[in-house]
């Protein structure tokens, strides 16, 4: 037996949907405006901006190319240096 979920009773203004549409448009234009004014910090623009020098203290990983005995490329690994913190659970 399927469970019947009662639909919420919408008021007259909710059934018109127009206030909700206007509200939604207000939200999107707010995001647009904040982005345009540079208030939203989105992401790192990689080649120009690099986080190498101000990584957080808890950062452990460093991507490294691992080579085997014949100096061939074997894998890309996340190298975890133990020297930074000996408590690191490796």
């Amino acid at each position: 037996m399927a469970l019947r979920v009662a639909r919420p009773a919408l008021s007259w203004s909710e059934r018109l949907y127009l206030p909700a549409i206007v509200g939604g448009m207000a939200i999107t234009i707010k995001h647009f405006k904040n982005m345009l004014l540079g208030r939203t910090k989105v992401t790192v623009q990689y080649p120009e901006e690099r986080l190498d020098n101000d990584l957080p203290d808890y950062y452990r990983g460093a991507p490294a190319l691992v080579r085997d005995a014949d100096d061939r490329l074997s894998a890309l690994r996340i190298h975890l240096p133990a020297s930074r913190d000996q408590n690191c659970p490796r």
Binding site: I21, G24, M25, I27, T28, I29, H31, F32, M35, L36, T40, V42, T43, Q45
Partner: protein, 368 residues
Amino acid sequence: MDYSFVFISLLKIVGILFVVILPMVSYTVYAERRVSAFIQDRPGPNRVGPEGLFQPIADTLKLLLKEDFTPRPVNTFYYWLAPALAMMPAIITMAVVPFGSTLLGVPMVIADINVGILYVFAISSLGVYGIVLAGWASNSKYPFLGGVRSSSQMISYELSLGLSVIPIFLIVGQLRLTEVVRYQIEHGWMIAPFVGDWTNPGKWLLAFPMLISFFVFMVAIFAETNRLPFDLPEAEQELAGGYNTEYSSMKFALFFLGEYAAMITGSAVIVTLFLGGWHLPLPSWHGGFHWALIDGSAAGWRGVIGGLFNIVTFFAKVTALLFFFIWVRFTLPRFRYDQLMRLGWLFFFEIALLNIFVAAIIITFFPV
């Protein structure tokens, strides 16, 4: 035969098509990507050139250089015809829209014909053939569903599109689009009658049915151009791209260009009918306050500047509407198919019909 007329018309066609419409189309695509990104808190395409402004050129080159692949099971003739049919009506519609006053005495409209808006409806509804033929000729399930959806959607919304503009022609009395603009210059814009005899109460009463007309016409244009929230013919999640799934390279690009060109001509028609066309009243205090009219009728360089100003005004209004199109696309979710049909047949059709009666009653009791 008047060769200077032919030459000037050709000049206007080339000017409006290659200098205004096609660059506008490619930069609307760029604006769409950039504005959508900003709305979603992303930077968007910002690599090619300053702020990514050369992105459309890179896109065009990429599309031109891609392999043009034709799947074997397609009906080749219609498969090749469809992209052209999708692109052409959108551009031809622009012919009757007055995009400026006059420049050096030449009226800035390509074909000032007396059936104006009927021509717009007749040609723009041909755009559905491109989509239906593409869906049918692709010989594939999803494009076919997209094409069928598109045809029923266009037919449903054509009704409210046509009915919603009848009040305008009750008021103006002519179908010629230049006359509609001339009326709005003398008596105020259709939805905001500030200039002219704005103290007449009938004008302000008429602005209400005009606002409803504007709203219904706008929604119908959204549906006609297959824009979200009415983009069921190309609903990616359901139809894997819709009618253009089997197309590649420049043929795909033509569908894309056709959609955006239809958006631009749709906005141009909205601007002409409801937002005063190329008219922008500027306040003036020479001998008391009044609205100054700037057009290309003045002699010498003042006329040239006035004419150019009108063209810029017109396309600035069109650009504002295009921004609105993009803004709506990235706010509203898509309608379900039955909701779309219900909205078209049970709401907008009736609203547009009632609106005609309301406007007619107001015109009867408050002659303007």
